[in-house]
């Protein structure tokens, strides 16, 4: 029977099917961090269980870490305790641990791919919903709860019903200043935050074929924001070139064998999806969100829709606009901006900083803007320095912070104050996500750069000169 890419990977990981219930689903690689793992370890210990395959789990500290002065002890005692527990649990159970200050430390979904932990055809889970990022490699990757973290630790399996299948095709090519982030925000604005609930998405079509690995990661990362458990893209030469030679990728004969398998990871021509959408890539413009969920996005040159134009209840819509201090029918361009955040597992990789730098180069940071530029990992941080990007940023009046999740969820001190407006390259504009009362507008690194240098929401296309386009 013809199969989709998703079927091929899923079916090869089913240990056992339960009649009228979920599949017992094998997990190849498991990522853990300090926030969603402590209770799982507590559970293990209270039941007297061990970790079945410690070499299949990787620990990094990211959610709760400071992004300045990482060499100093962590000031907040609760955060320090979580970091300490992660380290102790990792040591006790023989799990590889990249703690604060380790040269491989960084955001869990940045370090996984960077070190070759993420592979095509693998299953990857983590107690973080943006685990969907790793689907960019043709892996099945999704976020799990802490009870499931405990299951994976002790049995390398979770119990999951197989999701339905959706394919999203984007044809043609993208216009000037339009980035993978815009593609993702565009899709979510069309499907809404619950439009893909119950589905696993495959992204296909020319736009994704031409996209870099990092761009694909940005798109797959945001799959969860339309309710999908995950999203994936069939592996191709771009994928193989990216993973070759990384620390945890197979080597020598094992690589050749893996390649043989990986080349079979495509959706068969006549395979059927439960749902399919097709959009024209050239119709997408730089996007920005105006509300309090990622589905509330719009082309940056457009006006904020009226309640009648959107799905869902009027009361919920009004509550959302009220929180943002916006009104129906207003333009987004020209809205004041107080903070700019570039980072997170969505847009905290080297290409994101290259894009940001391409636009701020030769310009100056606006005085009214506080900018937090937070690399996704130490490896990204090192690249930023090696490539001379740091010099461009410094020249334009920006500072670089140290890696971590930072203002993406504002668990550390990087909180946007109440009522202030932030243009953020992260993934969630929920009420209070970036700090109590903070007002978030999600956008690409280019839109963030345009806001950072002008101090207001600005269409980056008006600032882009022809030669900087390629960098973006």
């Amino acid at each position: 029977m013809s199969k989709t890419l998703f079927d091929k990977v899923w079916d090869s990981h089913v240990v056992r099917k339960i009649e009228g219930g979920p599949d017992v689903f094998f997990i190849d690689r498991h990522l853990i961090h300090e926030v969603t793992s402590p209770v799982a370890f507590l559970g293990l210990k209270s039941r007297g269980l061990s970790v079945l395959y410690p070499e299949r789990t990787f620990a990094t500290a990211d959610h709760n870490t400071p992004t300045i002065n990482q060499h100093l002890p962590v000031a907040d005692p609760l955060s320090a305790n979580q970091l300490k527990q992660l380290e102790e649990n990792a040591n006790e159970f023989g799990i590889r641990h990249w703690g604060l200050g380790h040269q491989k430390n960084g955001i869990v979904h940045v370090v996984g791919p960077e070190n070759g932990i993420t592979l095509p055809g693998a299953t990857i889970v983590c107690g973080d919903s943006h685990t969907s990022t790793h689907g960019a490699f043709g892996a099945i990757a999704f976020g799990i709860g802490t009870s499931e973290v405990e299951m994976v630790l002790t049995s390398q399996c979770i119990m999951q019903p197989k999701p339905k299948k959706m394919r999203i095709n984007i044809t043609g090519s993208l216009g000037k200043g339009v980035t993978p982030k815009d593609v993702a925000l565009f899709i979510i604005s069309k499907l809404t935050t619950s439009g893909a609930t119950g589905y696993f998405v495959e992204y296909a079509g020319e736009v994704f074929e031409k996209m870099s690995m990092e761009g694909r990661m940005t798109v797959c990362n945001l799959s969860i924001e339309m309710g999908a458990r995950g999203g994936m893209i069939a592996p191709d030469e771009t994928t193989f070139n990216y993973i070759a030679g990384r620390e945890f990728t197979p080597k020598g004969e094992a690589w050749d064998k893996a390649m043989e398998y990986w080349k079979t990871l495509k959706t068969d021509a006549d395979a059927v999806f439960d749902m399919e959408y097709t959009f024209d890539g050239s119709s997408i413009e730089p996007m920005i969100t105006y509300g309090t969920n990622p589905g509330m996005g719009m082309g940056i040159s457009k006006a904020i829709p009226t309640a009648e134009e959107v799905e869902g209840g009027k009361a919920t819509y009004e509550k959302s606009l009220g929180y943002m201090g916006f009104h129906e029918g207003e333009a987004m361009i020209g809205k004041p901006v107080d903070y700019v955040f570039v980072g997170s597992c969505t847009n905290g990789r080297i290409e994101d900083f290259r894009a940001f730098a391409s636009l701020v180069k030769g310009r100056k940071k606006a005085d009214n803007v506080v900018a937090w530029l937070v690399p996704g990992s130490h490896i990204v941080e090192a690249q930023i320095k090696e490539e001379g990007i740091l010099d461009i940023l410094t020249e334009a009046g920006f500072e670089l912070r140290q890696p971590g999740c930072s203002a993406c969820l504002a668990m550390n001190d990087d909180k946007v104050p109440a009522g202030k407006y932030a243009v953020s390259t992260s993934n969630r504009n929920f009420e209070g996500r970036q700090g109590p009362g903070a007002r978030t507008m999600l956008a690409s690194p280019l839109v963030a750069a345009a806001a950072a240098v002008t101090g207001v929401v600005t269409d980056p296309r008006t600032l882009i000169e022809e030669e900087t386009l390629e960098l973006a």
Binding site: V39, G227, G432
Partner: protein, 198 residues
């Protein structure tokens, strides 16, 4: 962790007719620093429930003594966003044993089932009926019958059935969890693992 058995729950309900309630609202990230699962109920819906000076917001339903009970009734797409199981823990720790909505986000729904909170998905029409009934009479009771998979407005007898897979249903009725199951098939899993290329 094994949890309380769930069979029939009869209770008044707390209405929260907001759509797309995300897990950042259920439990904001700054309260995720604890390393135990108890105690999150105090901060359930923290920023909707309290002002920044920690005084209760009078107009939020959890601060309104009119509405109480073990059933939380939410708007469409309840529990979207972050995978934090802390959201389900907070709902449980506050005292809810079931959440009713016309649509749940996947991960939240799974997390609830894993810790013994029953997610009950009803039609949008029935959801509206529940809201109307609770607003008309806050003492109105709902009965959630897991063995029969029904939810009933006791005052009128109007009922609807809901879905749950038989494996999870069995777990909830008996207070088992997935780890019990997985421990029993460890040999099969280890055999499977030897076949994995990476």
């Amino acid at each position: 962790m094994a949890y309380d058995k769930f069979t029939i729950l009869t209770s008044t309900a707390v209405p929260l007719p907001i759509e797309n309630v995300d897990t950042d609202q259920i439990i904001p990230a700054r309260f995720l620093k604890a390393t135990k699962r108890e105690g999150f109920g105090d901060n359930l819906f923290r920023d909707w429930r309290y002002n920044s000076d920690n005084t209760p917001k009078a107009d939020f339903v959890l601060n309104d003594p009119t509405y109480k009970g073990k059933i939380l009734v939410g708007g469409k797409n309840f529990g979207s966003g972050s995978s934090r199981e802390h959201a389900a823990w907070a709902v449980y720790d506050y005292g809810f044993r079931a959440v009713v909505s016309s649509f749940f986000a996947d991960i939240f729904k799974g997390n609830c089932l894993n810790i013994g909170v029953l997610p009950v998905q009803v039609s949008p029409e029935f959801l509206q009926k529940i809201f109307d009934a609770v607003y008309a009479d806050p003492n109105t009771e709902l009965e959630i019958n897991l063995p029969e998979q029904t939810i009933t407005l006791l005052a009128t007898g109007e009922k609807e059935s809901f879905d749950i897979n038989s494996y999870k249903k069995d777990n909830m009725q008996n207070g088992f969890d997935d780890i019990d199951y997985l421990q029993n098939i460890k040999g099969e899993i280890q055999e499977f693992a030897t076949q994995r290329p990476f």
